[in-house]
């Protein structure tokens, strides 16, 4: 059984149909890439997966449970974490505090008004461990807004990782990164691969073809091609659009 199962997802904004009918089943532990041209509806699909947008038709199941129409915080509580294409950090918080807020243990104490948050060394340790995985341990005390771009991108992922998610949705994680940053990110994703289920929207074909188990191409609100990187290179649509040239 697939961990994530999206069936017939249809989304329209006003009279503009953005997603016609998207099917996607991702088994546990798979790294699934999503690609497609600008405006194809990839981010919108993530918004449906994570509860931000309610689909007009179709259903989302997580581990067999129907979660269609759940609000974002309930989907998150079911173990789905996401990063954002447009960086969405707690800018005034330190890197460590950004991650701390993401910890499930912190969330469980979200209505605790009686203890000082900074008094809890357990939070600090867990947060530092997460920061270390993305290489930000030495910048834990720096405010998010004062971090350089590449570090902010890393923090964007760290906050999602802090949730110890079952499913990690990454929306264009390499965007704006230099080749150094892309390599660091590829190494990170390589380490995560297999440990959790990852769905990643990505324009960087080299990155995606090297790492993904399977890739779906979204166009005209539908999945127009799907397969392993190898299979996709043979796919006629992909060849014609010259998407597979990097592999």
């Amino acid at each position: 059984m697939a961990l994530i199962e999206a069936a017939g997802i249809h989304v329209r904004f006003g009279d503009r149909v953005v997603l016609e009918s998207i099917d996607l089943a991702v088994p546990e532990g798979e790294f699934h890439g999503l690609m497609g041209p600008n405006g194809a509806g990839k981010t919108t699909f993530f918004n449906v997966l994570t509860g931000r947008v309610k689909p007009g038709r179709g259903s989302i199941r997580l581990g067999g449970k129907d979660v269609t129409g759940f609000s974002p915080h309930r989907i998150a509580a079911h173990g789905v974490a996401r990063s954002f294409q447009i960086m969405t950090l707690f800018d005034e918080f330190s890197a460590r505090e950004n991650v701390t807020v993401g910890l499930p243990a912190f969330r469980a104490r979200g209505f605790d008004m009686r203890h000082a948050a900074a008094n809890d060394s357990g939070f600090a340790e867990s947060a530092m461990a997460v920061l270390a995985t993305v290489g930000l341990a030495d910048k834990a005390a720096v405010r998010a807004r004062d971090l350089p771009y590449g570090d902010r991108r890393a923090l964007e992922i760290a906050v999602a990782l802090a949730q110890s998610p079952r499913v990690l949705c990454l929306d264009e994680p390499t965007s704006g990164l230099g080749s150094d940053g892309v390599q660091r990110l590829a190494a990170l994703v390589g380490r995560l691969k297999g440990k959790l289920t990852i769905v990643a929207i990505e324009h960087d074909m080299e990155f995606l073809f090297a790492l993904a188990d399977r890739i779906s191409v979204i166009h005209w609100g539908q999945v127009v091609a799907r397969g392993t990187p190898h299979e996709l290179q043979q796919n006629e649509w992909v060849r014609r659009s010259n998407l597979g040239r990097f592999a």
Partner: protein
């Protein structure tokens, strides 16, 4: 330059900070000298009550980043609740203060139900609309509130601790009573701000989207902080009813709701826990000092407000902190002194 997060400072983990002790000590001496500088003990009472109110208001404006422009409603409801409880339920100080807190909290919770899915300008409009509704109700319900004449003959009930009872009729005795309530409320609000709950609310202020996708029920946090803020504002209102020996609808008007916004912004509530208190001092002392010279004191305060919003949006507390930081020689001392005094979270 990089800066560290406020929560890393040790004050965040303290229940009572050095700044609080200094402030309380200074405030405790006020009745000893206030008459000698040409002011009067009642002003001290007003400052404490408005400080409590402004700190409560700032839980919503500063901590949660939610623009509430009708907060006078909850202050006023607290005042009426105190008086009505005294007349109709029990003439007991504790019961009536709890009533002020609870009834204002209930009103706040009711409003929170309708506004907590909004933010920004829509949120602000809704708070104004509800504030106006409560204000109108207070004026029109003549039989209950006394309408424009106010609810009169409210007594300063004695503070009964079982073994000892303090009579609060005298302004100095009442001042010390208010100071104790203020001190306790400050401890509670300081801790609240630095608790996991307070940090989540601060996170929601920065990004509702991210917080929601991290599993936080954003609506519930927004509704609860608003309710708490309304309840504490109501407690301040109850004390105000005792101070004035009456409750009037004017504190609930949009006009007077604006005062607490001005106080908080002028003082620097957006960057500092203590900002609202600074603002209340400046506002009320300006009212009395400039007000003695000219009837148009509000004009001058308004100009000060505009100047601060334009040039020093972080308010007085923020400006003082920044000024200290400019001089590198005294910077380190200045930093800790300012953190001590204002707990300034350098948010800009």
């Amino acid at each position: 330059m990089t800066s560290t997060s406020p929560s890393l400072s040790s004050d965040a983990t303290r229940l009572v900070t050095p700044a609080m002790l200094v402030l309380w000590l200074v405030l405790a001496t006020v009745p000893l000298w206030i008459s000698r500088v040409g002011l009067y003990p009642y002003l001290g009472i007003e400052i404490l009550i408005w400080s409590l109110y402004a700190l409560a208001f700032n839980l919503v404006l500063g901590t949660a980043g939610l623009p509430s422009f009708g907060h006078g409603a909850y202050f006023g409801i607290g005042a009426y609740a105190f008086g009505l409880c005294q007349f109709n339920v029990a003439a007991n100080l504790w019961v009536c203060l709890v009533a002020a807190f609870a009834v204002a909290g209930l009103a706040g919770a009711l409003v929170a139900l309708f506004i907590s899915h909004r933010r920004g300008i829509y949120y602000a409009f809704m708070t104004i609309a509800f504030g106006q509704i409560f204000w109108t109700l207070a004026i029109k319900s003549h039989g209950i509130t006394g309408g424009e004449d106010g609810l009169l003959k409210i007594a300063r009930l004695p503070a009964d601790f079982g073994v000892v009872t303090f009579d609060l009729a005298d302004n100095v005795a009442f001042y010390y009573f208010v100071l104790v309530v203020f001190a306790l409320a400050v401890v509670a609000m300081w801790r609240l701000t630095h608790s996991p709950y307070g940090r989540v609310v601060a996170a929601i202020k920065q990004s509702e989207t991210r917080a929601a996708h991290l599993g936080y029920h954003v609506w519930l946090y927004k509704a609860s902080i608003f309710t708490l803020s309304a309840a504490i504002s109501g407690l301040a209102g109850g004390l105000f009813a005792m101070a004035q020996l009456a409750a009037f609808p004017d504190v609930m008007s949009l006009h007077q709701s604006g005062y607490v916004v001005m106080m908080t912004l002028v003082g620097g509530g957006l960057v500092s826990f203590w900002g609202p208190v600074v603002g209340v001092f400046v506002f009320l002392i300006a009212r009395d000092v400039i007000g003695a010279l000219t009837n148009a004191w509000m004009l001058y305060f308004g100009l000060l407000f505009i100047a601060i919003v334009l040039f020093r949006p972080e308010g007085i507390a923020g400006a003082v902190t920044a000024a200290f930081q400019k001089h590198s020689l005294i910077r380190r001392q200045g930093n800790s002194a300012m953190r001590l005094l204002f707990g300034a979270e350098r948010w800009r």
